[in-house]
Subunit: 207 residues, 2 copies
């Protein structure tokens, strides 16, 4: 049945092309959102970056908010996946070494690897609830991983007793998140930022 | 000339009332903007909080953006004024004590004293350039004060040599700024956050 088989191949080709276009659209949206923020993200800019016509976006996403919802969810999931990977790679090492690995994973994903993650960090807290819900659930799971890291440090007797563990965790994550606001690859190397952040975080936490 | 004098008193009364309403409007805008962000700040919500009709806002500000521009500028100027005051009060004290005072000034103004400052911190980097220009000039001056604080610490031989001073300053300011995203007066006392932040910052910077 050559005809049927041909049709099937054709439709698979169309699906692949559609998936590629969808991915290009999401990539473009992540890039624009990470730079311009929620209110500044215009579909015409996203379409231009994705090399497509703006109305064609609605073939893939019913609304601007649906597109942005997907971007911030993917960004939050990437942060978590990247941290899980770093923690697996440093399994069995001392708590301080695992925290250093987590600092590096956070900064590298935010600043270097993922427009999606940078877009999520810069915007998730100010989106309408239905746009941020899935992303914020990932962020909560991410925070839980950090809570364990700090608890492990405390269990090893290496968390200073004059600091509040919960505030300490959030201050560390804040320092890392805010790097999206100021770090500029042209101003300095990401390796310097990572090294400085690792050193500061460990000195800030340990006796 | 009782008539003229009366008229003058009346018009002064009107000016005072107008200034009070304008202030109430700005306060309301700062509160809404600090919670909802730029894209979520609707004039109807601002008007309701200010106990006025939405169209009356245009008597005071030609546009939503003009209103928000004023809020973030006032917020940035308040951060700087509050820091200058704290530094004057700690003049002559050791660099580390002045940094501790600056940490407290930042957090207190951001979390406790000023909706304007919290609104500025959460939004200034994602506003259209013409809306954020005056605020960001204040932020640059604020950063210069911190640059001096870190330089003074270094001059006293109390900045660790394995950290980059510029990245260190921005990581500290990021930790403080991000507190606007998570601190909740119902979850814990601001004094605990200030104490933890002061201790972490000084341990992060000093040998």
């Amino acid at each position: 049945m050559p005809r049927s088989s041909e049709a099937s191949t054709e439709s698979e080709g169309a699906r692949t092309k559609s998936a590629r276009t969808r991915r290009r659209l999401l990539d473009a949206a992540a890039s624009v959102l990470s730079e311009k923020g929620f209110s500044g993200t215009r579909l015409t800019d996203v379409a231009e970056k994705a090399r497509m016509q703006a109305p064609a976006i609605y073939y893939y996403y019913p609304s601007r908010e649906d597109l942005i919802e997907e971007v911030v969810f993917v960004g939050a999931a990437a942060m978590r996946a990247h941290l899980v990977e770093a923690l697996e790679a440093s399994a069995g090492r001392p708590p301080a070494a695992r925290i250093a690995a987590a600092v590096e994973a956070h900064l590298r994903n935010e600043l270097q690897l993922s427009d999606y993650s940078r877009a999520m960090i810069r915007n998730a807290n100010q989106l309408p609830e239905h746009v941020s819900r899935r992303a914020l659930a990932e962020v909560a799971a991410y925070n839980d991983l950090w809570r364990t890291l700090v608890a492990d440090l405390a269990a090893a007797g290496q968390l200073r007793e004059d600091i509040d563990p919960s505030a300490a965790r959030m201050l560390v994550l804040g320092a890392l998140n805010w790097a999206a606001e100021w770090w500029d690859p042209e101003r300095g190397s990401i390796e310097d930022v990572i090294r400085t952040a690792q050193s500061m975080v460990l000195h800030a936490l340990r006796p």
